[in-house]
Symmetry: C2
């Protein structure tokens, strides 16, 4: 099954029709997985081996504005800077946009503004592709439901399928070959006390992309065979934790899930360790604070930065210990 087949099914008679508007604009939040997406069962469609569960970050994310242009080629403007169309980022975006237009007939100006560090393991591509799909929905006037937008966003970047919603979000793995049952849904629970601290220890681009790291893990890690069962257990526990507002269960499960994902990477070949010295030091500090009774946990994605998980009651304490952390309250 090809991406274009999926787009055709979702758009039906609207497939490859001209945009109804001149411009479309939308915001999508970035999301942080509490139960990670790690491994694809289909590279083309970004279909995951397992389900996953995330929290969206409110106003942290990307805004995309797509405008029909008179030029012969797409123009991409990222954070007010024109991006060369030859770089991998642009090629990936243009080939994604090609799914929705007759090639050569329509050029776009795509402006993306992101308030999160690019490629620092903060799911910038998730917010990016989700905002682009929402902007396309406005531009073309498709009026698709959010599940359909989630499927389209997934074709751009797997975790983008979760950035269509705020709050806690579950991405169903699905079983179909065409992935029509692999989309995200919001978990309708509000947890106002839930806080996240972005602990940026490096905003350099990572050496190994998460896409490459994931493929390498599935292909070479002897431990990967145990990952799906870990997700099954963790996902169930996190959903219980959310429903019962059991923060320690949530924190423990999310941290263990992240460490287990990184564990599968360590056992890949060549091995990948996203942790740098500062990551290790921060982990040790968190573990020490927790031993002393503070309810603090972390999660880590395909980069060196940590995301602290804690409750509002401990906000002042966390700020004392991690003065550089950017604090977010997803439900505020």
């Amino acid at each position: 099954v090809k991406k274009s087949d999926v787009v055709q099914v979702i758009l039906g008679t609207q497939y490859l029709q001209a945009p109804k508007n001149i411009t479309g604009s939308a915001f999508a939040p970035t999301n942080i997985a509490l139960c990670k997406y790690w491994g694809k069962r289909d590279q083309e469609l970004n279909l995951p081996v397992t389900p996953s569960l995330s929290i969206s970050l409110g106003k942290k994310g990307a805004n995309a504005t797509i405008t029909v242009s008179d030029a012969t080629h797409d123009e991409i403007i990222l954070n007010d800077q024109l991006v060369n169309t030859d770089v991998p980022f642009s090629k990936r975006l243009i080939s994604f946009l090609n799914l929705f237009r007759l090639s050569g007939t329509l050029a776009f100006t795509i402006c993306i503004t992101s308030n999160i560090p690019i490629a620092a393991g903060l799911a910038s591509s998730a917010a990016g592709f989700a905002s682009i799909v929402k902007a396309l929905n406005g531009l073309y006037g498709w009026q698709l439901d959010t599940s359909s937008l989630s499927i389209l966003a997934r074709l751009g970047s797997g975790s983008a399928s979760r950035s269509l919603y705020q709050g806690f979000v579950e991405w169903h793995k699905g079983v179909r070959k065409d992935g029509m049952d692999s989309f995200s849904e919001a978990i309708r629970e509000i947890w106002p006390e839930f806080c996240i601290g972005l602990l940026i220890v490096s905003d350099k681009e990572k050496g190994v992309s998460s896409r490459e790291a994931m493929q390498r893990t599935v292909a070479t890690s002897a431990l990967y065979s145990a990952w799906p069962q870990k997700v099954t257990t963790d996902l169930a526990d996190i959903k219980i934790a959310i429903a019962e507002k059991d923060f320690n269960l949530l924190g423990k499960t999310a941290e263990s899930n992240a460490l287990t994902m990184h564990a599968t990477l360590l056992s890949a070949w060549p091995p990948v360790n996203y942790a740098i010295s500062e990551t290790i030091q921060a982990m040790q500090k968190i573990w020490q604070l927790r031993n002393n009774g503070l309810e603090i946990y972390f999660t880590q994605d395909a980069g060196p930065n940590l995301k602290l998980l804690f409750l509002q009651k401990d906000l002042a304490t966390i700020q004392t210990h991690f003065p550089t952390a950017e604090i977010l309250q997803p439900f505020a």
Copy 2:
């Protein structure tokens, strides 16, 4: 099955007999596992879940001298310092010695001299218990074969069973409940070019003992279920590498095996990360050097230090990049 049952079977009519000599003294090398021992199927007898394979470190190890004394209690002298008999190290040693004497009838003076940092992940207990068992064999005049000594050493510390030999050593996991088939044997291959560099980044005692870490992994790590199969594959590859003097196969397999062991620890709860900042920096440096064509690999045990694996042809280069590493040539 209890330790004393095993001792009784091995010593037969010599069990609990008086020493034939006044003193016994022996040296045993420490060993570094290239395919790790990680997980016990029997806590009492230190029976492993998997086989393992190590290289002994020549003159790096421990010397034990055990002398019958007139005192009412054992005296333990470690590196010329009298050790309090209440500390865990002493209790463990005394209860091991109790396996071989009628309690209260015989006191020993035990002098252990070790030329390796204690508890820095350099298998000091392996060399210690192996040297003690050899010293006891001399003191009592048992004249046991090395396989039997290997079994007795295992009762003190699992990896001690491998310290009865120099060179490459395989510890058979065995299948019997009494562990009589779980002992080590030498692999009779000489590899004079094989070098090891001890990269000590910290000689502080580790926070979590390997014994505790191992138990925690088996009890809580979701990835541990995949470890035995990893060992089966790696052990076969390392034996091929040794037989064919295929250094890259040996290095790659040993490094991946060590990282996979640490991966299972990361996924345990509470998580354990023996790597400190300096460990991570050294790993990154090794990976970079290897990317540039240098044939360097590492292994890591339950501590922050790394053991570099390389061939003699690269000795000068390694010394330039790691001036503090202590270079050992196990076959020199």
